[in-house]
């Protein structure tokens, strides 16, 4: 699909502003009613989901005029999809898809962001989104004696992802995951140095071709190795393998699970028992790409039925953020003795983004941290000692923001807490 294919959706926008807020029924007070980081920070309607559609629709009609301001609007968006969820509470129309297509078009037309270009160059050269990455991708597993899934038969391929593999502070997540899988007796392996970036973050940044390259590389490796199940350690990887590969007909019948889903399954099947007490009060942050954007892709092709209303033949089923992964991570946390889980105001499909998505982490770190700070405050308002997430990008952004602002909230990935409990 291209931007033109969403003309009807964009013209449906009635400018009601619902996409700036969490769904009205969920608003619990003056605070934490916003859902879109971009309009919350930049205030002009142009930065909201609806405003983006208005601009894209006008440009389709009147021609594309790339100005600095336009690019500022385009790239200061986490592509978090919250606008779409709030809109689709009431409306039948696509919101994130046209916003995404608009960004892809900008990149296609050479209207890129220098910071993102740098990241993509690193991807092209080194197969990772981590600029200046040192060492080899599989170094984190040195001495762990893990199976090489490209050579040995395994039931599960654990895809660690770029940040966890290369960032020294994040490698602890891969190691915790390994411990958990070993404890549960899972026959798993890693691809080590043969692992490559899933491409998901490149796609969020607007680089479709680079994404497709990565997707094809990954799927070729997976097919060759005969892998049936992939477990990802990060939410971006999850969305890429599960949703985006499917969107571009590359996924086949590969089973894709996020580590939180897999641990939940292991616990429910009696293969893993978190027995040790972990005395801590926590709140859980739904990563966008595990939650609302982790909802399976729905293949659809059809035409608007001519007439008075926006209906299609065959009927179009919208992805409204409902079928993301929400309960498994919560169930895992609840299964750990001693953990007290309190929910924030903005959760599940109307969760507030951590700020690191859509390339914002790289193109405008100040905005990424501003967004994280709002979430940190919301987490703090629950009285929890720690915010738990299920994505290394969220963890890193939260931790760095807390470090800068001098807060006391602790940050964990869900695997770190499970590791403590087994």
């Amino acid at each position: 699909m291209a931007l033109e294919d969403y003309r009807g959706d964009m013209e449906m926008c009635c400018r009601c502003s619902a996409c700036k807020f969490i769904p009205m029924q969920r608003v619990k007070g003056l605070q934490y009613a916003n859902v879109c980081p971009s309009i919350a920070k930049y205030n002009y309607h142009a930065y909201s989901g609806g405003g983006r559609l208005n601009i894209a629709a006008a440009m389709l009609k009147n021609g594309f005029n790339y100005t600095d301001k336009l690019l500022d609007i385009v790239y200061n968006c986490q592509m978090c999809g919250a606008c779409g969820v709030s809109c689709n509470y009431a409306m039948d129309m696509e919101v994130l898809e046209p916003i995404n297509e608009f960004r892809l078009k900008c990149v296609e037309d050479g209207q890129t962001n220098p910071a993102l270009e740098k990241v993509i160059n690193s991807l092209r050269k080194q197969g990772t989104m981590i600029t200046g990455a040192r060492g080899k991708r599989g170094d984190w597993a040195a001495g762990l004696n893990l199976k090489d899934a490209t050579k040995e038969k395994v039931d599960v391929l654990y895809h660690a992802g770029c940040l966890t593999s290369y960032d020294k502070d994040m490698q602890k997540l891969a190691k915790a995951t390994v411990k958990i899988l070993q404890k549960a007796g899972v026959n798993f392996g890693i691809a080590g140095n043969a692992e490559t970036c899933c491409g998901g973050r490149a796609y969020q940044m607007g680089y479709k071709e680079d994404f497709l390259n990565q997707a094809k590389k990954n799927m070729a490796m997976i097919k060759k190795a005969g892998i049936k199940t992939v477990v990802t350690g990060c939410a971006d990887g999850y969305q890429a393998f599960k949703v985006l590969y499917d969107k571009y007909d590359l996924k086949g019948d590969l089973e894709v699970l996020h580590i939180s889903e897999y641990i939940d399954k292991l616990i429910k099947d009696g293969k893993l028992k978190p027995r040790k007490k972990v005395d801590i009060s926590v709140t859980y942050h739904d990563p966008c790409r595990l939650g609302r954007l982790g909802e399976p892709w729905i293949h659809w092709e059809g035409k608007k039925v001519p007439g008075d209303r926006f209906v299609f033949d065959p009927p179009k089923v919208y992805r409204r953020g409902t079928h993301g992964v929400y309960e498994p991570p919560r169930d895992v946390l609840k299964s750990i003795p001693g953990i007290k889980l309190t929910e924030m105001t903005r959760i599940k499909e109307y969760s507030w983004c951590c700020g690191a998505g859509g390339g914002v982490n790289e193109s405008n770190p100040g905005f990424a941290k501003w967004t994280a700070q709002e979430r940190i405050e919301e987490a703090g308002s629950t009285g929890a000692e720690a915010i738990v997430t299920a994505c290394p990008w969220c963890e890193k952004n939260f931790s760095e923001t807390i470090k800068e602002s001098g807060g006391s909230l602790k940050v964990y990935d869900i695997v770190e807490l499970v590791e403590k409990a087994i």
Binding site: R15, Q25, L30, A33, Y44, A46, N88, G307, D308, R309
Partner: protein, 490 residues
């Protein structure tokens, strides 16, 4: 229409570089209007400074909250009130809340519910400004419109700060009419041109008792929210009646007996929109519900202040409905549907689904007047929709109208609209033709259709030549003509 560098700089000095923008690229997001600039003031002092500059440079301006609808003359300065989003005070004892323009109703309502209080929210929805007046689902019990606006802080078109009502003589917000100046008729122009000159920067909103829980126990995921449990003291029902007379009789009696929390004269097409989550489902449910009703109807929400009060109200309701041969719509008795309607109609997020979801546009004729008469007018307007429905130009909603009584009495608002796809030019023209024809008929039959833009000269003589007074007023308070009419608050 770009501003000169000097003028731009003068505004920028007031709000800072981040809070003014005249880049044409953002304009499509602002109603595709050719605005002079969009400015985001932070407080009353900044609004005042902007307005004074507008006078100095003879630039027109208009303040806007969420800006759901609007018309903007070329070159106008758009004051986007987004940054003025604070609740200044919730005065539980004297039952008012003071808010800045961009507090949305959902936010204020949620804060109030925690305190056992509530507000009259305009029917447009919880996504709109809590401060701006309007009519809504609670009108029967709380009245609507300017009755709920108490003291106001107002920056006049010349840039003076005027404190209206009790605020004019003290720092108290409790009353809109004094002690202190009451300019209610001037600042709340319900008749065309329908927009107040100048800028409201703060306003006190009247509060009411909230008999429900401190927060709504919502379950499910968007867009399938319902209540995990119906509060023990709340009930929703939809009743249909064999005739308009019978419905009106029941509506009046419910008002007189003061038993309802909310009476909303929905038609079943609106019920269908509210309880479904897609256009396809809505079409199917509408057909089913339309067969189940016997004629015009309304939705009632009953809320008891004690178990006894709840029982009493239910019994009175039953008696009134049975006296008027009313029939309860069974589908709404299902607790799941009841829960959805409670969510949609108390936290009011109904109107987007009801109007825009189907085709992307709607054109409406709201009229104020005695309900039974205006309903009869609306039935005529509904009949006039039939050829458009037959041609497939507008959505088939059974030709229905909706509305509600105001202040437990005879007066009320009745409204009828056509939903259509605006990219279908034939449909657009047909709907505009219908709207013009039916509005003109309303006016000829002496109904007050308050959105008849541009007909001031015609309406004026029928309303004590108010238009001449209005003109004199605006000339006096806006000598530079910088605060144009032509928008609408309702």
């Amino acid at each position: 229409m770009a501003l000169s560098k000097d003028i731009y700089k003068a505004f920028e000095d007031v709000v800072g570089a981040e809070n003014i923008c005249d880049d044409p690229v953002i304009m499509p997001a602002y109603h595709s209007a050719e605005l002079g600039a969009v400015i985001l003031p932070k407080n009353t002092a900044e609004v005042q400074a902007i307005v004074k500059l507008c006078n100095k440079y003879k630039l027109q301006f208009r303040a806007v909250c969420t800006g759901w609808t609007g018309m903007f003359p070329k070159g106008i300065i758009y004051l986007d009130m987004r940054r003025m989003n604070h609740i200044v005070e919730i005065n539980e004892k004297n039952m008012y809340a003071v808010v800045e323009p961009y507090v949305i109703s959902a936010q204020l309502q949620a804060e109030l519910m925690k305190r056992g209080l509530h507000l009259n929210m305009k029917g447009a929805g919880a996504n709109c400004s809590a401060m701006l007046r309007g009519h809504g689902h609670l009108d029967q019990t709380t009245s609507g419109d300017d009755r709920n606006q108490l003291a106001i802080e107002w920056v006049t078109p010349e840039g003076d700060i005027v404190r209206l009502g009790s605020l004019g003589s003290s720092d108290e917000w409790f009353c809109g009419d004094g002690p202190g100046p009451s300019l209610r008729s001037l600042i709340n122009s319900a008749v065309p041109p329908g927009v107040t000159p100048g800028v409201f920067t703060k306003s006190a909103v009247k509060l009411y008792h909230w008999p429900g829980p401190p927060s709504f126990p919502i379950e499910g995921e968007s867009p399938l929210y319902t209540m995990s449990e119906i509060p023990a003291n709340m009930m929703v029902r939809y009743f249909s009646f064999p005739s308009v007379e019978k419905m009106w009789e029941a509506e009046l009696k419910i008002g007189e007996s003061e038993i309802s929390f909310e009476l909303m004269g929905f038609n079943v097409s609106m019920v269908a929109a509210n309880i479904t989550t897609s256009n396809e489902e809505e079409t199917e449910v509408f057909e089913r519900l339309n067969k189940a009703v016997q004629g015009p109807g309304f939705m009632v929400i009953i809320a008891g202040n004690s178990p006894e009060d709840f029982e009493y109200k239910k019994r009175v309701l039953q008696q009134i409905v049975s006296d008027a041969d009313g029939k309860s719509l069974e589908a709404v008795e299902d607790p799941r549907i009841e829960g959805i309607l409670l969510c949609q109609c108390i936290r009011i997020s109904a109107s987007i689904r009801e109007t825009f979801r189907n085709g992307g546009a709607f054109n409406s004729i709201p009229i104020m007047g005695q309900r039974d008469l205006t309903i009869k007018w609306a039935i005529g307007a509904g009949k006039a929709k039939e050829p458009l429905i037959e041609k497939g130009l507008i959505v088939d909603d059974g030709g229905a109208f909706f509305g509600w009584g105001v202040e437990q009495g005879h007066l009320g608002k009745t409204e009828i609209f056509c939903k259509f796809d605006p990219s279908n030019l034939e449909a657009k023209a047909a709907v505009e033709g219908w709207q013009k024809e039916q509005s003109t008929r309303a006016f000829k039959e002496r109904y007050f259709a308050n959105l008849l833009m541009g007909q001031t000269e015609e309406i004026g003589p029928a309303l004590s030549n108010y238009h001449l007074w209005w003109q004199k007023f605006t000339e006096a308070i806006d000598p530079n003509g910088v605060s144009p009419g032509g928008g609408a608050l309702v």
